[in-house]
């Protein structure tokens, strides 16, 4: 009997050892994996710099026909003037609006707090205002309906979860957030097929969306060298390497080629 017991005990210890070993090795490997993106450094606002610049379009913007809103009389009424698609919106001198400029890489080592202010996305005159919103992962998005008609908000992401909610007039704002970085999630309204917008979901708060004057400024950039990317819904992306010195403003201009 005793011998039997010894045997069992040995087997048990052995197996425990094996299990233990394998477990520890597993742990280490998974840690290794997650260690890379895990950010530990925080941004010292004192030394943080910024990136700014202008985005331009080289060439003539495409010509658009006015949108036919006759499907919904309200929309016709709300827009006495013809409305054009806002896919490519240029300002004077070919400045390009609705371009998301953001730090694509180089900031992985930092952890950024999620901005507590929600981003608003309004539906007004059967169009989205703004046309493109950028927000950080986990940042709250508020969708408003200022129209006196029912819209539905239907983001069709590639990486995030898809949803589709309807919003009658005067309904409370729909709030949601996105868990995964994605530039950019197309948004549409199934009731008004011409309505198109974009949500650019970014891993860090280092982003900016150009206005009609094509200007952007990314603030709070810790010193370092970054790849900055500009995204435009029609023309795609442009990358630039930018080095930011401590408490300095770096500039970087982008020019998209009209096709």
């Amino acid at each position: 009997m005793n011998r039997k017991f010894v045997c069992w005990a040995a087997a048990f210890v052995l197996s425990a050892a094996i299990v233990g070993c394998s477990k520890s090795s597993n742990q280490s490997s998974s840690e290794g994996q997650s260690a890379a993106p895990a950010a530990t450094k925080t941004v010292d606002m004192a030394t943080a710099g910024s990136i700014s610049g202008v985005v331009k379009l080289d060439g003539a913007p495409p010509k658009y026909k006015p949108i036919n809103m006759s499907a919904d009389p309200y929309c016709v009424k709300a827009n006495p003037n013809p409305v054009f698609p806002d896919e490519v919106v240029t300002g004077d001198g070919g400045t390009l609006a609705n371009v998301v400029v953001y730090v694509k890489s180089g900031a992985e080592g930092y952890s950024f707090p999620t901005p507590s202010t929600p981003v608003t996305f309004d539906q007004k005159g059967c169009m989205y205002t703004p046309h493109v919103v950028a927000l950080m992962v986990g940042q709250e998005l508020q969708v408003l309906n200022s129209d006196n008609t029912t819209h539905n908000i239907h983001p069709t992401p590639a990486d995030n979860r898809e949803w589709n909610k309807s919003q009658p007039p005067n309904a409370p704002a729909i709030t949601d957030s996105f868990a995964r970085p994605e530039v950019a999630i197309p948004v549409k309204c199934n009731v008004h097929p011409w309505m198109k917008g974009y949500f650019a979901v970014l891993a860090n708060p280092l982003f900016s969306v150009t206005a009609k004057d094509g200007k952007f400024e990314i603030k709070g950039v810790p010193p370092g060298t970054y790849t900055v990317e500009a995204w435009q819904e029609k023309y795609g992306v442009l990358d630039q390497t930018v080095t930011v010195a401590a408490s300095q403003a770096a500039t970087s201009d982008f020019t998209f080629k009209a096709q």
Binding site: M1, N2, R3, F5
Partner: protein, 329 residues
């Protein structure tokens, strides 16, 4: 229920039981007949031993003899006609048997309906009966093997040169008794028990007792060690602590050896005593090689073990004499 003669008739008249019923008649008859021949020869032997002169001239058979007669006869026709007659008579018997009794045919085989009793063919009922007393590996494998080997060994361990080719009792007393005990007293009796006594549930039914499939029997069969309350408590004190939990097993195993050895010694002494009874047998005994002697003893001890065990089981309800974790006897 007793006195159920109908039940007895049912058993005896079952077509597949006819052979054993016939054997119960034939074997005594042929035993008597063999002895009839043997005793005649024995008388002749006695006569010749008493009269050495006659012994020198005598033709030495009990059959009629005339020196003018041919000592050997032509096979054709003198043997062949007898063979022909025998063949015809056997054919007649067979035909009458086949015309009067139908070979049994029961329901189609059905694994989910157990026959009760489920019996082997009659010639194997001895072995099946042995299953009641021994573990299957002994009854089903060891004993049949020993029987076959033992039978085949007979010519080689029977060192007695006398009685070669003629019936005799006087000159082969031990040999004759051994066979009678082995074949008739053990084998045939076991077959008969299996056929006539064992009923539903393979339980013991006396003749004329009704076979009742619902009968419930209560038997407590004890191992010999239980009878003697061997539980290994005293052994436990002697053993190192790590072995203590297996003390009962060890004690049983060790205890079992005792009766086995005792039986072996007693049986050997008994056989030895038998072998030493007459001057002639002593002579033969001396002539036997060691191997012959040992083989003879082993087989005889084993053979006698069967009735002893059966007796212990049936009368004293002893299950195992020697129980070990690996095998039990």
């Amino acid at each position: 229920m007793w006195g159920d003669w109908h039940q007895l008739w049912v058993i005896i008249s079952a077509p597949d039981n006819i052979p054993i019923v016939a054997m119960l008649v034939l074997v005594p008859f042929f035993t008597w007949y063999a002895f009839h021949n043997a005793l005649a020869n024995d008388r002749l032997i006695a006569q010749l031993e008493a009269d050495p002169q006659l012994a020198r001239t005598h033709h030495r058979t009990t059959y009629p003899y005339n020196s003018r007669w041919e000592r050997e006869l032509h096979t054709n026709p003198f043997l062949m006609r007898k063979e022909l007659l025998a063949a015809v008579i056997v054919t007649i018997i067979l035909m009458i048997w086949a015309l009067t009794l139908n070979a049994p045919l029961e329901e189609p085989a059905n694994a989910s309906v157990t026959m009760n009793p489920a019996k082997a063919p009659w010639y194997f009922l001895g072995l099946q009966e042995m299953l009641e007393y021994f573990d299957p590996w002994i009854a089903g494998v060891i004993i049949p093997t020993l029987i076959i080997v033992g039978l085949m060994a007979i010519p080689f361990i029977d060192a007695n040169p006398l009685g070669n080719g003629y019936y005799t009792y006087k000159q082969r007393r031990h040999a004759v008794w051994t066979y009678l005990i082995g074949f008739e007293a053990i084998w045939l009796v076991l077959v008969s028990i299996g056929t006539f006594i064992r009923g539903p549930g393979f339980m013991w039914y006396w003749p004329t007792q009704t076979w009742d499939p619902d009968r419930i029997e209560f038997n407590v069969n004890q191992n010999l060690d239980q009878v003697f309350h061997v539980d290994g408590t005293w052994l436990a004190h002697l053993l190192p602590s790590s072995w203590q939990s297996s003390a009962p097993l060890i004690a049983k195993g060790l205890f079992g050896i005792i009766p086995m050895v005792v039986y072996g010694v007693l049986a050997a002494l008994f056989i030895h005593w038998i072998c030493m009874r007459t001057e002639y047998s002593r002579k033969i005994y001396r002539k036997m090689s060691l191997l012959q002697t040992v083989t003879l003893y082993v087989f005889l001890i084993t053979m006698l073990f069967l009735p002893v065990t059966i007796f212990l089981r049936l009368v004293f309800r002893i299950k195992y004499i020697w129980e070990t974790p690996w095998f039990s006897i």
